[in-house]
């Protein structure tokens, strides 16, 4: 039975781990593509080629090693992003650029295909298994030189011809904090914020109040049922406020018991406790494992 439980737990753990990995790689998006690079970004060799920008649309670092980039629907494993290169890790909400120059010998970020401006270019990113599609896009034919095609919002939004080319940076950059400016413009006195926020604070605590009012009622009823049973068993009458006794009553009883025990056993070293002494076993709390074995002298 224990083995079964352990096995189930292990299975869940494995599934969770795979799920977590999948969730991370699927957050990568193809973000921007430049098909005709005449007077734009140059690579480390000083050459201009088409490029594909990927964007990590998550709050965690994603490692692209082992994933596949392709321009062929029938061949998802066309270019494997090499393993062992630390630069394949994309930090949260950041970008990485691949050069479509058909020269993979130039390094990790040079793929083994190129983009053709005269036809639709299919580009896809596959997970390390080579079958799970992470993201794909078809860049329409006839792209103009040095004008990129990308998402209007990084990692989301619609594909469109972008007004400015932004290799390895955000497609959209904000010159201001829109939220704050909105408050400055529409709520210069802060009344709106006060009303909204206080309403939410009150709402949260009112809901908590209502829930615990009901839980309290249920607890009092349960205590009354127990008191009723105890009264029936002992043949006494149940007290009117059974289940709602104040802590002061119990404190007074405890103090009286303690004093009684103190008076009667003033010489003995007794301690009155209401602490539960029975403990459930756990290897973490077991002293057995922290004890040193007694050395045995071999004769």
């Amino acid at each position: 039975m224990t083995n079964k439980k352990f096995g189930a737990l292990l299975l869940l753990l494995v599934l969770f781990t795979f799920g977590a990995k999948a969730q991370l790689t699927t957050s990568v998006k193809i973000n921007e593509v430049l098909v005709v690079n005449e007077d734009n970004f140059v690579d480390d060799y000083g050459k201009r080629h088409p490029w594909i920008e990927l964007y990590n649309n998550s709050a965690g670092t994603v490692d692209l090693r082992g994933c596949f980039l392709t321009n062929d629907k029938n061949n998802p494993r066309k270019y494997m992003i090499p393993k062992g290169d630390v630069l394949t890790k994309i930090p949260p909400y950041q970008h990485t650029l691949f050069w479509a120059d058909d020269q993979p010998t130039r390094g990790t970020f040079h793929v083994n295909f190129t983009l053709d401006p005269n036809k639709d270019n299919y580009i896809a990113l596959y997970d390390a298994d080579g079958t799970t599609l992470i993201d794909e896009v078809v860049v329409p034919a006839g792209q103009k030189a040095d004008i990129s095609y990308g998402l209007d919002m990084d990692g989301k939004g619609k594909w469109m011809v972008l007004s400015k080319v932004t290799p390895s940076t955000n497609n959209v950059t904000l010159d201001s904090n829109e939220k704050v400016e909105n408050f400055q413009r529409n709520d210069s006195w802060g009344i709106g914020m006060t009303i909204t926020a206080m309403a939410v604070v009150f709402l949260g605590l009112i809901v908590l109040y209502l829930v615990f009012k009901q839980i309290g009622k249920a607890a009092i009823k349960a205590s009354q049922r127990n008191a009723q049973k105890a009264a029936e068993a002992s043949g006494t009458k149940m007290s009117a406020n059974a289940g709602q006794e104040s802590g002061e009553i119990f404190a007074a009883i405890s103090m009286a018991l303690y004093e009684l025990s103190d008076d009667n056993h003033d010489i003995e070293n007794t301690v009155l406790t209401i602490r539960k002494v029975q403990r459930s076993y756990s290897p973490w709390s077991s002293k057995i494992y922290s004890l040193r074995q007694t050395p045995v002298v071999k004769k």
Binding site: Q184, A197, I215
Partner: protein
């Protein structure tokens, strides 16, 4: 002839050696605190000494004021900026590394873990309507927010300043590190200073806003709360509040987790660590680094003075809002169920100081009316309320 040449050479060598020594001493002196001190440094050193004095002489929140006060001394020792990685703002320095817990906002949730593990929510569970008092006192936050806006702070800064009114140091640090990192030192010191000064700030307003009759109201003793209810509280509390305000998750999550460790009865070791060694260590680091972050060059600005003024005002507003809300609430409660408005002040989350003030002021008017347990209800509700308010501000302005 040879002797005189040797003597001249020795004299020359001696002279250059003496010059070398003098230059060295001059360089050394230029590195000392005396050579680099400014009036600002001395002002801040006096502030640090004042904090230490208040903590030792009057026992005003000594756990906070001693580390912060000493931190102010550490942070305001003048030195020459020579890339020696000494100051708290120099990347890679020891103080800077310790300061990351404040800057990145991970000390406050750990403090909340400890607070959760030491808080008994029984008073609140037995009389859940007291939660509303904790909500009302959050007006202090937004009152200060409104005034800060009028004083020219932008909404993010105003939100960070307003949170001082929550009377919750960790929450103030957490929020200001996200919304206005440049004001964090002043906000943190202001929040902790006023938390230490609640025995001075609150009682006059409590007396001013209540009548003799109201101060004598006796409340029903709280009923005994079952362990099941105590276990359910952190779970239900987390689910309800965090679903409503997910941005408050770091604080609320740790607060309720700590409380579950305490109430579950099976993780006593975890609870004891959280409310003992862990919170002690974090309190020390947080206090010292917050204090050290008040370097005169960064701290002594007009904005800091404004923040101190707004902080005091926010505490006053929070106290008044709590007391007045109880008076208003009493209009709808039956005789016998009424709440003593003297516990309204404890809606601010300075636990347990604010509750202790309710008790002390209550005892002044009726020596047998013990309000402490009742005041603990709104007091701990204030912790939840201020964390929720911080989450809202972060959500709107972050």
């Amino acid at each position: 002839m040879l002797a005189s040449v040797l003597l001249q050479a020795a004299a020359g060598a001696n002279e250059s050696f003496m010059q070398f020594l003098a230059e060295n001493i001059q360089v050394f002196l230029s590195y000392t605190g005396f050579a680099n001190a400014t009036p600002g440094h001395f002002i801040m050193l006096l502030v640090g000494l004042l904090f230490i004095f208040l903590a030792i002489k009057y026992e005003f929140e000594p756990m906070l004021l001693i580390p912060i006060g000493f931190g102010i001394l550490i942070g305001n020792i003048p030195f020459k900026d020579a890339g020696l990685q000494l100051g708290i703002y120099e990347e890679g320095s020891v103080l800077n590394i310790l300061y990351q817990g404040v800057k990145q906002g991970w000390y406050p949730p750990l403090i909340f873990l400890g607070i959760g593990a030491m808080t008994d929510f029984s008073a609140l569970i037995s009389n859940p309507k007291l939660m509303l008092v904790g909500a009302a006192a959050q007006f202090g936050i937004f009152g200060a927010y409104i005034i800060a806006l009028q004083m020219g702070f932008d909404p993010s800064q105003a939100g960070a300043i307003g949170i001082i009114g929550g009377a919750d140091g960790p929450t103030a640090i957490f929020l200001s590190s996200k919304l206005a990192p440049n004001l964090m030192g002043a906000i943190a010191v202001s929040a902790y200073s006023y938390m230490a000064l609640v025995p001075i700030i609150q009682p006059p307003f409590m007396r001013l806003l209540t009548t003799q009759k109201e101060r004598l109201i006796r409340m029903k003793p709280p009923r005994v709360v079952s362990q099941t209810e105590k276990i359910m509280f952190p779970i239900v509390g987390l689910l309800l509040t965090a679903f409503l305000v997910p941005s408050g998750l770091p604080l609320l999550g740790m607060l309720f987790f700590g409380n579950l460790c305490k109430e579950s009865g099976v993780t006593r070791r975890l609870a004891e660590t959280a409310r003992g060694p862990l919170i002690d260590v974090i309190t020390m680091l947080l206090g010292v680094t917050v204090g050290a972050s008040t370097q005169a060059t960064q701290f002594l600005t007009i904005n800091s003075i404004k923040i101190f003024g707004l902080g005091a005002l926010s505490f006053v507003i929070a106290t008044c809002a709590g007391v007045l809300f109880v008076k208003f609430f009493n209009l709808f409660l039956k005789e016998g169920n009424k709440i003593n408005p003297l516990i309204g002040n404890s809606g601010v989350s300075a636990v347990p100081d604010a509750a202790r003030i309710s008790q002390n002021v209550g005892l002044e008017y009726d020596p047998s009316n013990y309000l402490l347990m009742h005041a603990m209800g709104p007091n701990v509700a204030g912790v939840i309320g201020s964390a929720v308010a911080a989450g809202i501000l972060l959500g709107f302005l972050g």
